[in-house]
């Protein structure tokens, strides 16, 4: 039995960022994970930190703050987690697509996002191997990326250095009120703390249920292709504007629109599909084919490069595609930080800041109401 100030359930990117923010606020933190660090979705996706795919609204505010925090954290905690502001290039081939993209960029600019329109030949100066017929793109220099498993591990390294604990292979089985505190029962015993953070990602609904509450968080599967190490072919993150439409889509059936980028290790990542079929791990070759075709449409030279690996993860999504951040109306002391769908890496630091401020009952950089669990859980 231990008595920390706060218990964080889930050692993924979001849990690690929350644990770090709370540790830096002077609290003693215990992080519990039923498996090992970054063993959930954070170890099965990509590390894009994007503002380019966000429409103006609360998520964009969160994304912009988060992007800045990423660079602050990197300065502060060191450890190389491959953070790099390589920028994105969003292209479109159709006149309707171009019009939509222009419109989105205009709106984003009004919200202080840097979005630069590029036509030919500048486009091909930025991306020499881009398909020659592509003639329109928006360059978002602020878009960045990190290696999420390393980022998670380095944040948790800081938590441990400050006296916090990270307990792996310790599954949470029950959460109950114990006086003014919450008692968390695990396979290893009981822990009590005044505050508990639910950062269980795609499994956050199950954890909420353990506390007698409910969250409608479900998995949205995504496949990613990894090529063999290749010559540097792709300079930015490059994707077709269809991607933004895909991200926002509520359709259950398969969607995909390739996002292509080179990694530090020399491989090229091609992500990602989106489909809602529960926690189904079956390999779907048709998805791999489609992603390959879309990537080649952007970069014809990819045709000669080998696919080396493919993997999938389950994005945690809420019905309205916004993360759930804030205190549970039914279980005081339990704070949710989950449901970030395809943006949990990028949004983790700002989410952690909102959680920290909510726990400390301090004003935050933005009004967190749009993310409140109250939109799904009515207080009794």
């Amino acid at each position: 039995m231990t008595n920390p100030d706060v218990i964080v359930i889930g050692a993924g990117m979001v849990g690690a960022a929350c644990a770090l923010a709370l540790t830096e606020a002077g609290m003693e933190v215990l992080v519990l994970d039923r498996s090992t660090i970054a063993s959930g979705t954070s170890g099965a996706g990509e590390g894009n930190i994007l503002v380019s795919d966000k429409e103006p609204g609360p998520e964009l505010t969160l994304a912009r703050r988060s992007r800045d925090l990423w660079f602050e954290i990197s300065e502060r905690i060191g450890g190389d987690f491959e953070l790099e502001a390589k920028g994105s290039l969003v292209i479109s081939r159709t006149s309707s697509g171009i019009a939509q993209l222009r419109h989105l960029a205009d709106e984003q600019r009004n919200h202080f996002v840097e979005a630069i329109e590029v036509g030919s030949p500048e486009l091909h100066d930025l991306e020499p191997y881009l398909a020659p017929e592509i003639a329109f793109g928006i360059h978002y220099p602020e878009d960045a990326q990190c290696q999420p498993m390393l980022a998670t591990a380095h944040m948790l390294r800081m938590v441990r250095l400050a006296g916090g604990r990270v307990s792996e292979r310790e599954e949470v089985l029950a959460i109950s009120q114990a006086g003014n505190e919450l008692s968390v029962r695990t396979i290893g015993g009981d822990h009590t703390a005044p505050f508990v953070v639910n950062a269980a990602g795609s499994w956050a609904g199950e954890v909420a249920a353990l506390a007698g509450s409910a969250l409608p968080i479900a998995p949205r599967r995504g496949f990613i292709l990894v090529t063999a190490p290749a010559p540097k072919l792709v300079m930015h993150k490059v994707y077709d504007a269809d991607y933004v439409a895909n991200v926002a889509s509520g359709e259950a059936d398969l969607q995909s629109s390739a996002v292509v980028e080179s990694t530090k290790s020399g491989t090229i990542l091609i992500g990602a599909s989106r489909e809602r079929i529960g926690f189904d791990s079956h390999l779907e070759i048709a998805i791999l084919r489609r992603l390959a075709a879309q990537a080649i449409a952007l970069f014809p030279s990819l045709a000669k490069i080998d696919l080396l690996r493919a993997y999938h993860g389950f994005r945690p999504y809420a019905p309205d595609h916004l993360p759930v951040i804030g205190e549970d109306p039914l279980c005081p002391g339990l704070f949710h930080a989950a449901g970030h769908e395809g943006a949990g890496i990028g949004l983790a630091p700002a989410t952690a800041e909102l959680i920290r401020d909510a726990v400390l009952k301090k004003p935050s950089f933005m009004d967190p109401t749009p993310f409140s669990p109250r939109r799904f859980v009515a207080s009794s």
Partner: protein, 88 residues
Amino acid sequence: MTQIRVILNGESITSREGQSVGALLLEHEQRATRTTRQNARPRGMFCGIGICFDCLITINGITNQRACVTNVEEGMTIQTQQGSGAIA
């Protein structure tokens, strides 16, 4: 046995039908097929049966081919590879 001409690092040499690129290189006293991506260390055939992907080499402009399981073909260009190699 049928003689085959191939180009190894820009030089035209003779090989035999059925010979693997790896065996051809050994015949020409060349052990390394490439240098590594991070530390530029020389590497050559290791497992010899297509499992380890250490004997990578550029063949006909395509990078990362395995010398041990690729047989020579008439007119083939073989280029030892630096790191990830170059785009054809």
